[in-house]
Symmetry: none
Subunit: 399 residues, 2 copies
């Protein structure tokens, strides 16, 4: 649904909707010919499947493997092709940095340079995170005219550089040549509007490398993914409701906050996430819950662990249904088949349970059944319009 | 299919197509776990399902509950989001008022006002239609500068006000506050272009309430849904054919006429509608037939009566197939599950029978089978392109 139409038809209602994202949920048949979801113990998911209806999401489009950003942006009812989160903005978001509308962010790597300035290791031997934190502290000494500068450590040799000020542009070249044995690229302007920013970036790099000179590892910086936060209409305003994200990992919290959701922090496990939802049940109409472990296991190529992560989620599910949401949606932001050890382009299983559901009499929540389900295979951005329709939160169109 | 492409590829042929719309056809499982369609006697529909193929329509979009206007506009192959029929235009259309391109229409209610001008009954005790007709007759005495004025009774206390003249705008506030115990709203201009029209409307209301003063019931007027007719290319021209609507209720006749179809009037039952189609078989290539009773029962929340309405339709179906149309399409303009007692957003069952059909070997016409059918789940506006393709009325695209 177009955002303008959402804005026009959305209406408040006394109903609760939970969107539960099992990261990388979709899979492929493993050693025994069954997918992770088919191999897992899914007694409670299967009961919901029986009482609800199934379908699949296409996160961005046919054949497109989504990153975590677009995977979630889509589920939040925005077109992930219209609202791209650049790598810099995503990295900043991922460490919980609150990106403002005037901020320009880049992903940084500390790297090793030889005496001629050639890159000998793009990752500076994967410098320890604590060491990178100390380096970032030192780099904060650099000030630039007319902008605020933030340097934040991420993990290993990675850091985020954020410039804050009016008129900054993402039209600046990436300095990381993405290979070794060559010099870094110049942070040149990619178009006339990038010229002022290019000047600031060049100055920052020069001064940073002066500070780092003489270090054995990490005597250079590489910057890429210049980006600002996408300018999307806030989710609560669009849908006329109070929305909370209940996550463990900063990345997903960050994407939800970019969309204008509140974040209820403090959970370290899905059990604690459920407890937080329960504690704040009356304060919100919509809860986004993120479950990470399906994806991490999938990315590691660990079929059995991914199946176990699903089983563990299943065992906790009664705690969620006990809250009696009007609509509960369970899906993924993309597929991460353990056999591929990576995100994939495959459609993602979708389960919808609650009020006004047209049952499809499919009794098991798995990829095959989802392909035959009542909901069909739909763009991820249509999941919440459908869920909110079931919850009485969309008015009739036309007389 | 885009209208321009329809215009380009449509071609005359010596074939007949019937589109039969069972209003509000789609349902949800009722008390016995089966939908209205599953509960009904559908011997003839099931035979057609077996010999034809199934699918589902999405009337406007995912999660969108359509009104009758957009539900039909879509089935007539127009994008219901591009051609919106406002409430006033729909009400005028519904009583058979021939809306011209310069006409601005509003839905009117006669209401009761107390001595202070507060609304005590928005519907004037549901004034009898004949009484409202007499009131409308009296209100026709009001003339306004530069425009023609029409006041037409609808049903009970409802009437339509149509202003005809150049430059009229729908940017006028609705005077119906939609609740009682308060004064009516001012017919203010909603934007600068509405100013002249606002002046005319205010004058009409003042003079109308002068005329009605002293009446015990119906001494005030409430107006809403200011709208003009949508400017759509005529259906017969688009499709290069002769099209007739055979309906009982004026609303559906009206929407068909807005699309440029002829209307063959006089039927009071579906049996009579079939007789009219038979009598005019040679004069038209396309017949739109509307069956109301499924929707009225659904809206009343009467599960059994909706199932019976389907059974009654089924019993009459042989009279239609006996005409040997090249293609017969049976679907709904939206779902009206009796359990919801309202229009809903659920996809709508679709049956296509006739020439060149790819059978899907599904033997029963119901929601579950339709979700698995050959046609898939398609936007309602693609139903007629597919039907006309089966009837040889769409030329090849490209050499």
């Amino acid at each position: 649904m177009e955002l303008e139409l959402i804005r026009r038809l959305s209406q408040p209602a006394d109903t609760k909707v939970i969107l539960c994202v099992l990261d990388g949920l979709g899979g492929l048949p493993g050693p025994r010919g069954r997918t992770e979801l088919e191999e897992a113990h899914t007694m409670y998911l299967d009961r919901l499947a029986e009482a609800g209806c199934l379908g699949r999401t296409l996160p961005v489009g046919y054949g497109i493997t989504p990153g975590s950003g677009p995977g979630h942006i889509g589920l939040f009812s925005y077109d992930p092709l219209a609202y791209e989160i650049g790598r810099g903005a995503l990295e900043g978001t991922g460490i919980g940095f609150d990106l403002g509308p005037d901020d320009l962010a880049a992903r940084g790597n500390l790297c090793d340079l030889d005496a001629d300035g050639n890159i000998t290791d793009r990752r500076a031997g994967r410098l320890p995170t604590e060491e990178t934190a100390r380096v970032c502290e030192a780099l904060r000494a650099i000030s630039l005219p007319g902008v605020e500068v933030f340097v934040e450590p991420v993990q290993d040799q990675r850091f985020v550089l954020v410039l804050r000020g009016p008129g900054l542009s993402d039209q600046v070249a990436e300095t990381d040549p993405q290979r070794e044995g060559v010099k870094q690229n110049d942070a040149a302007a990619l178009s006339p509007e990038g010229q002022a920013t290019s000047g600031l970036v060049r100055e920052w790099i020069t001064r940073a490398q002066e500070i780092l000179r003489g270090r054995e590892r990490g005597n250079g910086v590489l910057l890429r993914g210049w980006s600002k936060r996408p300018d999307m209409p806030p989710f609560p305003e669009l849908w006329k409701l109070r929305a909370a994200a209940v996550t463990v990992y900063p990345m997903y919290r960050g994407v939800a906050k970019l969309c204008g959701m509140d974040s209820l922090d403090g959970a370290h496990t899905f059990e604690e996430q459920i407890a937080i939802v329960r504690d704040h049940w009356d304060e919100y109409d919509f809860f986004f819950m993120h479950y990470k472990y399906t994806d991490s296991a999938g990315e590691d190529g660990d079929f059995r662990r991914k199946a176990e992560a699903i089983s563990e989620f299943d065992a906790l599910l009664p705690g969620l249904t006990a809250l009696n949401p009007n609509v509960l949606v369970i899906t993924g932001d993309h597929s991460t088949p353990a056999t591929m050890a990576a995100h994939s382009f495959h459609p993602v299983p979708l389960l919808l349970w609650g009020d006004n559901v047209r049952k499809d009499y499919l009794h098991q929540f798995n990829e095959r059944n989802c392909a035959m389900g009542e909901i069909g295979t739909i763009p991820a951005k249509e999941v919440l319009p459908i869920a909110f329709a079931h919850a009485g939160r969309l008015a009739k169109f036309g007389a």
